[in-house]
Amino acid sequence: MSPALRAQVLVGAAIVSAAALVGIYLAAGGSSYEPEQVQDPCQQRAWSNPQSLGEIANQFSISALDGAACQLGVSREELAQALATPEGRERFTERYGIDDEELARAIRAGLLRAIDDAEEAGALSPLIGGPLRSTVEGIPLDQAVELINNARSIFGGVDGLLGPAADLLEELLP
């Protein structure tokens, strides 16, 4: 093989192997291997078909987080992280320059949206929705955070806000 041909073969081999490897990695999903994008909290999230009180509580929490996050202009996930610990909440309010009262308003708005969503999905009777709304509109921040974190306390806990309403709710389950 002449020196000139060897040079051409080497350059050709470099081009083919480089292009082939990049092509294989792209075809295997290399350009989309990144964290999944989170959903806009202002968009309606479909309720799955809840089978138990726990599942209703879960859906309710998610709807409430969506509503509050939409009100604050942040993602549902960021708000959930912020509400998980008191330190997280403090960092969150500092970062966005909001006070506890604004946060409480947003969470109350979220809880109200969750009640609406639950009613629309047929998971909550208007008989319960009415008193729930009245309760939510007046609750303080810490209690609102507790409710958004664990909606089960609304529906079924012995110390829950509605007490007897929980029995009604159990009857409404599919």
Partner: protein, 457 residues
């Protein structure tokens, strides 16, 4: 300068060159440990690497001039002594500024030793061409082995041991060179040759700088990805990046088959570009997937560095000055690569970390795990994230202890895996723009390579 035993002197000179040029990359695998021990930032710890390369880039040509004025033997011996002393200071440094200052002094000594070595070698090996080959091979071996040796020492002993072990090696290498220094003192210096210094090969040195920036990106970013992104131990990462020097050995076997330096340089740059672009598009966070790109980069760097060094030195005298220019170009490239890529990488990893945590939170929120378990998880993950502010978090401990109920346990394990997957995606994706920029630098190096005239030794 043919007095004394030439063979021990050649070994000593090659050892000195390999040792100093290994130092530009040897701390790469130790950076995460230094980063943690000295409580600094990614940008701060990068200066442990940048300072050495920057001073090497600035001092190489003046050091070569000094070697020709003061005598290469004396310059090399003093350079190695300074390198050893500064290495000791690096090993005992307890604060980042002290470490960085000692690294600068180490580079001054190193630049003197490496450039003087190129002036000393022809007398010991018989010709300038042979001297250039030995010099380039010693440097390439040191640079290629550096990260793996550094990783092993960091894991088995400590990051400080990387510097401390260099002290006796540098002193041992200086011993045979002292005989030359004594000879110089007796016979005087060839100062008149200074007037015959030709201009450096601009295009070859420019291409060297660009390709060195790309290779620095490959090494530095890959190590950070393995250790900080995928949580490998330094020894594990050292084993993984050993593929690159092994592939470089393969490249050094291919090189002699192709006489055209231009073709070797061009092909090498394309291999490096392809390897870096592949690292930018990793389809999964798996170590095995980094191996094919590393093979391309290893073969490429061997081809392109040797071809460009040959071109830069070919037919040019004195060798030490032109060797100084190649050292300067290579290390300037490393500095430019690190300084250009670190801010991009740092910003990207912070953004990807947020996206990954959000995506993981979405997985937990949408799961059907008991809300009380979710709250506990959220609180523990929050604590974990707070403790690792700015870094890719280790998420496993937040899921301990696992629930006792088998069904709930399996759901929580599934959540842990999904959250880890999101973090892996984030960590891997954060490196993509920097790897792509490195690939672009390698591609752009084809311009000066294409414009340079063919030079054969």
């Amino acid at each position: 300068m043919s007095d004394g035993a030439p063979r021990p002197r050649v070994v000593a000179l090659a050892l000195a060159v390999g040792l100093v040029l290994a130092d530009s990359s040897i701390v790469v695998l130790a950076l995460p440990d230094i980063y943690r021990d000295l409580g600094t930032s990614v940008a701060g710890v990068t200066w442990v690497l940048v300072s050495f390369n920057l001073v090497m880039a600035l001092a190489a040509v003046p050091a070569a001039l000094l070697a020709r004025r003061a005598g290469p033997g004396r310059t090399a011996a003093v350079g190695l002594a300074v390198f050893a002393g500064a290495g000791l200071a690096c090993g005992v440094a307890e604060e980042l500024p002290t470490l960085i200052l000692a690294r600068c002094v180490q580079a001054l000594g190193g630049a003197a030793a490496v450039t003087a070595a190129l002036e000393l070698l022809p007398a010991s090996v018989g010709s300038e061409r042979r001297a250039a080959t030995v010099w380039a091979a010693a440097g390439a071996t040191g640079a290629a082995l550096g990260p793996a040796v550094g990783g092993l020492l960091t894991e088995l002993v400590s990051w400080q041991s990387i510097f401390l072990i260099q002290v006796p090696i540098a002193l041992v290498a200086a011993v045979p060179i002292l005989a030359v220094a004594k000879h110089e003192a007796a016979t005087g210096i060839l100062e008149t040759e200074l007037r015959r210094t030709g201009r450096p090969h601009l295009l070859a040195n420019l291409a060297l700088a660009m390709i060195s920036a790309a290779i620095a990106a490959a090494l530095f970013l890959l190590v950070l990805l393995l250790i900080e992104g995928w949580r490998l131990t330094p020894i594990g990462a050292a084993l993984v990046v050993t593929v690159m020097p092994l592939a470089a050995i393969l490249g050094s076997r291919i090189g002699p088959l192709v006489p055209s330096a231009k073709a070797r340089a061009g092909a090498g740059a394309i291999f490096v570009c392809g390897g870096l672009a592949s690292l930018a598009y990793l389809p999964k966070a798996e170590v095995a997937l980094t191996l094919p790109p590393q093979i391309l980069i290893g073969i490429g760097l061997s081809l392109v560095l040797s071809a460009l060094t040959e071109t830069a030195l070919g037919g040019r005298a004195p060798q030490a000055i032109h060797g100084g220019w190649t050292i300067s170009a290579r290390h300037a490239g490393v500095v430019i690569g690190l300084l250009a890529l670190t801010p991009i990488f740092t910003a990207d990893i912070a953004e990807q970390r947020r996206d990954a945590i959000d995506a993981g939170t979405a997985v937990i929120l949408d799961s059907q795990v008991n809300p009380l378990v979710k709250i506990g998880l959220a609180q523990r993950i929050g604590d974990q994230l707070e403790g690792e502010e700015g870094k890719v978090p280790v998420i496993g401990p937040a899921f301990e202890p696992l629930p006792e109920d088998p069904e709930e346990r399996s759901e929580v394990v599934g959540l842990r895996e999904e959250l880890q997957d999101q973090l892996d995606r984030g960590a891997t994706h954060a490196f993509s723009p920097s790897f792509l920029l490195g690939a672009l630098l390698a591609l752009l190096a084809l311009i000066p390579i294409g414009l340079s005239r063919r030079v054969e030794l």
